[in-house]
């Protein structure tokens, strides 16, 4: 049993690493094409990580050493664990454990908190501003993300077979029978809200103000170098691979059946969500933190709440 879990964890981590590197390349290549450029070669994210692993690790004199160096590891492991739980729920939907959706949501908040901790531990004023922006962003996008996750749960709760449950496996199995959660008014609105929240969670433009290279000299990551920076970049690639799968599981049915058709369908859903994320990234400027907070609190959260109300009424 333990060996099985370790195998699933290692398999999911390696698959997410490869998927994350390819997705990161797709992001950079599409951005380059949109800007009439050529863009980097396919293995560029791999070269970046390899190069960073070979550089020296510099720790500022004023930094709290252990927290500074441990934060990227914690963020990376949380992303890997979330990937494991998501892939296990998709591959074996009947072997569920109740509450794994809550586990995934909690695990997905850890990278942001680890970023804040590492930035605060670095002792730099640039990182401090970046950390405060990341904190405010975290407070603003978590509410719409959780509200939008309630919509598929409510749909499953109203169906007679499954009843009230927080398990991802039930969500996948329910969507296999009753159709995607996206094909309903509440599901569509919740998907839009969740997509915007995911854009902020990935700290991609228009919500990349914590790591604003032009403004803040690297913001939250300004004091990192070498292998810790490699782990931060890897962690961001992991999140880019995990979050579209999370959205696909909740709203697009995930891996419907564990056959090659289901796998192809999941790949298509993943690519569609990734393209949406990259297009939003390329067509928007960076917003200020107060604009982002106002956007999430007064526009996206009420939208997600309206979706929850609609789902409770059955639409």
């Amino acid at each position: 049993m333990v060996w099985h879990m370790i195998r699933v964890f290692l398999g999911a981590s390696v698959a997410t690493m490869v998927l994350g590197m390819v997705s990161s390349w797709v992001d950079r290549k599409v951005t380059a094409r949109v800007q009439y450029r050529v863009g980097p070669p396919l293995l560029q994210p791999l070269y970046d990580v390899l190069k960073l692993m070979g550089k020296e690790t510099l720790v500022p004199a004023r930094a709290q050493r252990r927290g500074f160096l441990l934060a990227p590891v914690v963020g990376l492991s949380a992303a890997a664990l979330a990937a494991t739980v998501l892939w296990a729920a998709n591959l074996w939907p009947r072997q569920e454990f109740v509450g794994d959706l809550i586990v995934v949501i909690y695990l997905l908040t850890i990278p942001a908190v680890a970023t804040i901790y590492g930035a605060s531990a670095s002792g730099s004023p640039h990182a401090a501003i970046g950390a405060s922006r990341e904190m405010k962003l975290l407070l603003s996008y978590e509410l719409p993300l959780i509200l939008s996750a309630l919509v598929p749960i409510l749909k499953v709760a109203r169906s007679p077979d499954f009843g009230a449950t927080f398990s991802l496996g039930s969500l996948v199995a329910f969507q296999q029978e009753a159709g995607w959660a996206l094909w309903s008014a509440s599901g569509a609105i919740a998907f839009v809200a969740a997509l915007l929240a995911v854009q902020a969670k990935l700290t991609l433009v228009p919500f990349d103000m914590p790591e604003a290279e032009t403004e803040l000299m690297g913001g939250v990551y300004v004091e990192y170098s070498g292998p810790p920076l490699a782990m931060i970049k890897l962690g961001r690639m992991f999140m880019l691979a995990v979050l579209p799968v999370y959205l696909a599981t909740l709203f697009l049915g995930g891996l419907g059946a564990a056959t090659w058709q289901g796998g192809l369908a999941l790949a298509g859903k993943y690519v569609a969500i990734l393209v949406l994320i990259v297009l939003i990234r390329n067509t928007n400027p960076r917003v200020r933190i107060d604009q982002a907070v106002r956007f999430f609190w007064f526009l996206v959260a009420p939208l997600a709440a309206a979706a929850v109300v609609l789902a409770a009424m059955g639409y």
Partner: protein, 143 residues
């Protein structure tokens, strides 16, 4: 070391340091990073912190005030790294060589801080972006 050098050649991240330039070289560096020359296909990315950088693009004559700051930025750059002296001012002091505020060429400043530093020169006043790309390619090929 082979994998690291491969990574360094394929993904050199640059950080721009102006130690007293007239801004002409800085404008040319900015042009280098525009979509027209597209250095991202070589893996070059402009980073916001010297700790993330592999290549320091130093422009300008090293004024007396900037000398200690340049050494500090060099020490904050994670080794292995390459220092590019962009333009004749960074290489030799250019037309401001006999001015009161000029201290030493950038190469001497960096060599004093780190005798084993890898330093490349890109001459010109200002050097064209194509010359900078040629200099970068030549420097990375010797690694």
């Amino acid at each position: 070391m082979g994998l690291t050098m491969l990574g360094l050649k394929k993904s050199p991240w640059v950080y721009h340091v102006n130690v007293g330039a007239c801004n002409n070289c800085d404008i040319e560096i900015l042009e280098l990073l525009t979509p027209r020359y597209d250095v991202e296909r070589f893996g070059m990315v402009l980073v916001g912190s010297p700790r993330h950088a592999d290549a320091l693009l130093v422009t300008g004559i090293c004024t007396r005030q900037a000398e200690s700051r340049l050494v500090e930025v060099y020490e904050q750059t994670a080794k292995p790294c390459v220092v590019f002296c962009i333009g004749s001012c960074a290489m030799t002091g250019g037309i401001f060589r006999h001015a009161y505020h000029f201290s030493r060429p950038v190469e001497d400043v960096i060599r004093e801080a780190d005798p084993g530093a890898i330093i490349a020169h890109v001459p010109g006043c200002p050097p064209k972006p194509e010359a900078m790309i040629l200099g970068a390619v030549k420097a990375l090929a010797t690694l």
